[in-house]
């Protein structure tokens, strides 16, 4: 269907109409993962064009929505009708969402896309991953190009309230950190006075950096790039003394450098960066689905339900909490417009939160990030999900 795009009624993200980008669409040709991998440089320019396009779309599409009665969830209806979940992910960040050699996507953010697809469509393959860079991610969600943004995005008040977006939870508790060369012998971030620091535009890290240095009365020279790849390249070529972003990203990016051992990540975290999935405001049911898929993964870990033992649990577990989670008691699926075994699908698809974490970020991955703050509350971490009851 190359060269066509559809204007669909009743799905409604802008004025009751939304424009979708199908496979090979002429409207957003650069969205295809294969193209991004071939031409990442061109893509960075394409995103500017896209931002303009999306802004133009917002102007042109008529506001018909006020007149029509909205269905229970326009996003849910649209996803079911389309049969595919459009999920915005990172352009490539190992551990969160990165394309693999088989053309699929791996990482905890990609797994969350799969989990939602499993809950809604009962098929983890029915996800279309749309790689977005930091600058274009919100516009993509606002305009309806993606149904869900699962792209290591920091939950802040302005994003949650003035962008028309809603954060559904925290999938990873993170903080801004700095990577430098070991040869500089730095002990603390404050030792970076007068240094050139590379960071990515359109991130909270950029703001945190300015705040931190101003608060501490020290100067620095900012060097800002649009893509994380460019930030890393500039750092690597010696343009900057340090590079700042979320610590999890630094751990991931550091492994891409040639001489990994020459670089270190300073231990301080200078900010709170709670990363979480985002949906559009105003679709309460869709927001609930995304939120409770995350909570189901956390509750499953807490209750010891895993990808492997899920069937066994269904057959044998007498624990009412587990039985509610697995849809054997109560009608919790109904409340979010899904089948009652929605959580079983999620767990069978990606495992519980702990499994997803270890597979992508923890011991099962090259990153080997300890659970730390992302451990369950009962293990001394911050991950705490409200109960299913």
């Amino acid at each position: 269907m190359r060269g066509r795009f559809w204007v669909r009624g009743n799905i409604g993200t802008i004025g009751g109409l939304r424009v979708t980008a199908e496979r090979g669409s002429a409207l957003y040709p650069d969205l295809l993962p294969a193209r991004w991998e071939k031409g990442p440089r061109i893509a960075s320019v394409m995103c500017c064009i896209r931002t303009v396009l999306l802004a133009a779309l917002a102007c042109l599409i008529p506001a018909a929505a006020s007149a029509q009665t909205p269905p229970a969830s326009r996003t849910l209806d649209a996803v079911i009708k389309r049969g595919v979940l459009n999920c915005g992910v990172n352009t490539g960040l190992a551990g969160f969402s990165a394309p693999d050699d088989k053309g699929g996507w791996t990482g905890i953010d990609a797994d969350f896309c799969r989990a939602v697809a499993a809950a809604v469509l009962n098929d983890t393959a029915k996800v279309k991953y749309l790689p977005l860079n930091a600058k274009e991610r919100f516009t993509a969600l606002q305009s309806g190009e993606v149904d869900l943004l699962s792209r290591n995005t920091t939950w802040t008040m302005s994003r949650d309230t003035s962008l028309g977006l809603a954060f559904v939870g925290v999938i990873y508790y993170d903080g801004s950190a700095f990577m430098t060369r070991k040869s500089l012998g730095l002990k603390s971030v404050k030792d970076l006075a007068g240094a050139s620091i590379c960071t990515q535009t359109g991130t909270t890290n950029e703001l945190v950096l300015a705040d931190y240095f101003a608060t501490n009365g020290i100067t620095y020279k900012p060097v800002v790039f649009e893509r994380l790849v460019e930030v890393l390249a500039a750092y690597n070529s010696g343009r900057c003394d340090a590079m700042t972003t979320d610590s999890s990203q630094l751990i991931s990016e550091r492994l891409r450098l040639q001489n990994v051992d020459e670089h270190e990540i300073l231990p301080e975290l200078i900010s709170k960066e709670p990363l979480g999935p985002v949906v559009r405001q105003g679709d309460q049911q869709w927001e609930s689905i995304a939120r409770w898929v995350l909570f189901a993964m956390l509750n499953a870990e807490e209750l010891g339900v895993t990808q492997k033992n899920a069937d066994e649990m269904i057959a044998t577990s007498p624990n009412p909490e587990i039985r509610r989670l697995l849809g054997l008691e109560g009608e919790f699926g109904k409340g979010i417009g899904l089948a009652n075994d929605w959580a079983v699908r999620v767990i069978k698809a990606v495992g519980n939160y702990g499994e997803a974490f270890e597979r992508n970020l923890g011991t099962g991955s090259r990153l080997a990030i300890p659970r730390g703050k992302n451990a369950l509350w009962k293990d001394g971490g911050l991950q705490y999900a409200p109960p299913i009851r």
Partner: protein
């Protein structure tokens, strides 16, 4: 002869004016204007309604809010506590700076290479041809990456940088040179300079009138130079040369103090200037070749040297052919400067349509402002070039 049925005159009706092509034309134009106005109204109100319904902030209030981010290069005082409006002006200033310098360099280089294409020296002509064909056929974005990466990779780290001419340093962080600072009397020197420029303008007008009346020429170049340079220099010396240089000094990480020219700026400037110069060279060559041969032969016949013939006869006529396409190239260069975002130079698109757009989420407003700015810059450039073109056109007597 065709036979016409004699039609009785219809009684006049209120519809009659519709058969008048003039009135019909006016009616159609009014309808078109109404339709366009309606469309514009719908676009504006729909956008506002949609943004409100989606709970996306709108309006231009954000411009006065605190920006909260830093910018690597700024021609006006700016820090992270400045407003988004200040960030806008920083980006605009950076765009104008690189565009203006790029235009000057591209023009100079383009003229040299364009003349080189016409050189009777085989080597110079072929080298110029090679330059034009290679540079104009490689995409600008690629060239920018080549400049940026090549410039960066080849340069030493700050601690390994060797001084150039004893005072300047060129490292991965940019070109560091001493910064001349006036201790006092800056405004006196500025007044002297302005006076000198005013006198030069007056002198030029007077000399032209005198030449038209008496045919006597006046050594305009040297006297103008003297008038522009002389007064400020005199005031400067009378004040006791109150000038000192701030030297760049190596700190723990970087050179501090002095003047630092960022590598992003140098790469963008070089990319834009060299790329556009290849097009300007072709415009100059075709403009000169467009002047009839007879003109040059006539110039030789009255005893002008080759250089004189070029300067006094050929180029003034060639300019008429050169200026309109040259304007296009200036506009292209200015708009191409938006590619800065790819190599981290803080131009208008990078700072305003990039960071500010992302931090505020107000895509519609930010993109509109950015488009309006580029439109304004382009129209102003066009206006200036049209004025210049009109001045250069042959005056029909």
């Amino acid at each position: 002869m065709m036979q016409r049925n004699p039609q009785p005159l219809q009684p006049s009706s209120w519809l009659d004016p519709l058969y008048d092509p003039k009135i019909r034309g006016i009616i159609f134009q009014v309808l078109l204007v109404l339709a366009l106005a309606f469309l514009a109204y719908e676009i504006v109100t729909n956008t506002a309604a949609n943004l409100r319904r989606q709970n996306i902030a709108s309006g231009f209030d954000f411009l006065s809010r605190t920006a909260g981010f830093d910018i690597s290069q700024s021609m006006i005082p700016y820090k992270s506590t400045s407003s988004y409006a200040a960030a806008f002006f920083v980006g605009l200033g950076n765009t104008l700076l690189v565009a203006a310098l790029g235009i000057v360099l591209a023009t100079l280089l383009g003229f040299v290479i364009g003349l080189g294409r016409l050189s009777s020296n085989w080597l110079i002509a072929k080298l110029s041809l090679l330059y034009v064909e290679v540079v104009r056929n490689v995409p600008l974005l690629l060239q920018l990456f080549i400049w940026y990466v090549a410039v960066l990779r080849a340069l030493p780290m700050p601690h390994d940088a060797k001084p150039i001419a004893g005072v300047a340093y060129f490292d991965t962080r940019g070109l560091h040179t001493p910064l001349p600072l006036l201790d006092q009397g800056g405004w006196l020197i500025a007044i002297a300079a302005l006076t000198g420029i005013a006198l030069t303008v007056w002198l030029n007008i007077w000399a032209r009138q005198r030449q038209e009346q008496t045919g006597q020429r006046f050594p305009l170049f040297w006297s103008s130079l003297g008038l522009v340079v002389g007064p400020p220099l005199l005031v400067f010396l009378l004040l006791g040369a109150p000038l000192h240089f701030e030297q760049p000094t190596l700190g723990r990480f970087n050179f501090d103090g002095g003047l630092t020219i960022l590598p992003e700026f140098l790469a963008l400037l070089a990319g834009l200037a060299f790329y556009t110069a290849s097009f300007i060279a072709e415009i100059v060559r075709s403009g000169i070749e467009g002047v009839p041969r007879g003109q040059k032969e006539a110039a030789s016949a009255i005893g002008l040297s080759n250089a004189q013939a070029l300067r006094l006869v050929v180029i003034p006529q060639a300019l008429r052919l050169i200026i309109p396409p040259l304007t296009n190239q200036y506009l292209n260069l200015t708009k191409n400067s938006a590619l800065a975002v790819a190599i981290g130079y803080p131009d208008l698109v990078s700072v305003f349509a990039g960071t500010v757009l992302n931090q505020t989420g107000q895509a519609v407003e930010v993109v509109l402002i950015t488009m309006a700015v580029y439109l304004a810059i382009s129209l102003l450039t066009s206006m200036f070039m049209n004025w210049f073109n009109a001045r250069m056109a042959i005056v029909e007597r």
